[in-house]
Symmetry: C2
Subunit: 339 residues, 2 copies
Amino acid sequence: MVTIKDVAKVSGVSPSTVSRVIANNPRISEDTKKKVRKAMKELGYHPNVNARNLVAKSTKAIGVIMPSSANVALQNPFFPEILRGIGSVIHEAEYSMYLSTGETEKEILSEVQRMVYGSYVDGVILLYSRINDKVTNFLREQGFPFVMVGKPQEHDTEITHVDNDNVRAGKEITQHLIDMGHEKIGFIGGSRDLLVTRDRESGYVAALEKAGIQECEGYKIHTEFLKSGGREAVEHLMSLSTPPSGLVVSDDLISLGILSMLESYGLRVPQDISLVSFNNVYLSEITRPALTTVDIQIYTLGAQSAKALIEKTLNKNEPAKRIIIPYEIVYRDSVSQLS
Amino acid sequence: MVTIKDVAKVSGVSPSTVSRVIANNPRISEDTKKKVRKAMKELGYHPNVNARNLVAKSTKAIGVIMPSSANVALQNPFFPEILRGIGSVIHEAEYSMYLSTGETEKEILSEVQRMVYGSYVDGVILLYSRINDKVTNFLREQGFPFVMVGKPQEHDTEITHVDNDNVRAGKEITQHLIDMGHEKIGFIGGSRDLLVTRDRESGYVAALEKAGIQECEGYKIHTEFLKSGGREAVEHLMSLSTPPSGLVVSDDLISLGILSMLESYGLRVPQDISLVSFNNVYLSEITRPALTTVDIQIYTLGAQSAKALIEKTLNKNEPAKRIIIPYEIVYRDSVSQLS
DNA sequence: CTGTTAGCGCCTTCAT
DNA sequence: ATGAAGGCGCTAACAG
């Protein structure tokens, strides 16, 4: 391995001068800079991060924590997309990105502890927001810089988070169904432990209320991500004496499963039943029918969270903030006008 | 930050003793071990990786390189799934995982160079295999430990890689179509720059040959991953004087797009046209119809590549190997018997 | 402008 | 079985 000393020797200067050249210190003459850089090139020198981090007490790396991967939720294209968003600013800032890999909450916690205690990273991005989350609590207790994608369960003024206004989005998309003449509207959500599910559900409820529509017993269902849960949800809904004519589904991926179930029940979307959902994952464009869904700008969510985190690691006094990314409803073919 | 010295002071021993306790050196008495460990716990001591890496000249970290993310290919659930597989053994071995984030090939190359030159990682996993890949070449030239998921374009006896027998799989799945009475069989593949596309295509060709079926002009198409390309592919195929009755599609995600296009042309699968594909991503179960596809065991692909890489970083003399993961055809509802 | 010195936190001889 | 000393590669005062 080529070290700073080798470069120093070859270019006939001291190691510290080389170090300063690397940092592009203005107090080094252009001549020596040139000389040193030439030597670096010749020798194929590249600084060793570990040595650098050791003295700098900073790693220029951030940890990205996915939710526990025991279930298929992780298969959601949401993740590659948000990773891309994070990656773009990480790359720009010349940071690196550590990915958590745990399957269970316990494994994840231990990984985060390793990252934090072992100075692997300067900060952490949490790609989920869930009730009573040990990881969140740990990070808070440690006072370790982190930002959350989604809304914190509590202490939301102390935790920097990047989120959509999911309540409003839920309200608005439900309102769309109402505007199209629907009154019997069901809600199918993912786990209620996820804050995002709760928010979207609140929006749904608010829209109904505002329209003076009575909430129906049994119209609200929570299910696991894919088909198994989807099956039950659809079975349940359709066995009701007055089944809904419209569905608000909290995630495009769930919608996919629902769509499939609906079809197997001989129900056509949107002719027999309308459906709207959230995320606008690329898949929602190629389902049949294409989904009317809320585009939450996943990429931006990722990019902004990375940006906020980096700022925070650079300046410990950076105040906590809430960053709300605008959403936009994308109208496609999964909703029909009820006369 | 709590250091080894603090622990030493509190437990009344020297720093080196503490270090030995961490390494669980057998020449330290159980008594002092106990004493030291107690102090570590009290103080909340955790070793600093950077310091450790610096002297150990190893990072216990691996880099994972995704293909360039300029296109939607990255949205393929293949990636979260393979990441899970890698993660499982990484975690087990107490390694960490760096994720590349570049969007273009150039960015990716520069990231890999940083990883390698800067001693960020001990080895690298390439999640793709493409023609004339600069990253692969760089890694080879450097003699840096890496393994590839897929088949190397060249030097395949020198590069450890984890792959399926895609030629055979392609042949077998095509044979299935033939067995079901199909003779006019088209092939829709992703980029020909990807080795995997080529292999699957070779299998397709081999099956036709074996069955004595003449390859038809215009039956082979290569397209970008999602809909835009899918549209053209379907348009082209269906405008042929004798359109195919069966389709071999090189990736489930492409199949999704094709399915959608087909439907918009009023073609029903499998009644009007049959379709088989590859990967058995969870989505292929909830499409309508559910896809008959080759289960390539993505998770295992990831786990085995991580395992092979770790072995390689631990023992530089570990010979290059080819690891072939078995596949299995999953029969579902996208193929019909032709009488 | 540049060199010298010290030290980041840890591990590893070499002593004892 | 344990301690002392040196060094991994780099940066940051402090001199000059």
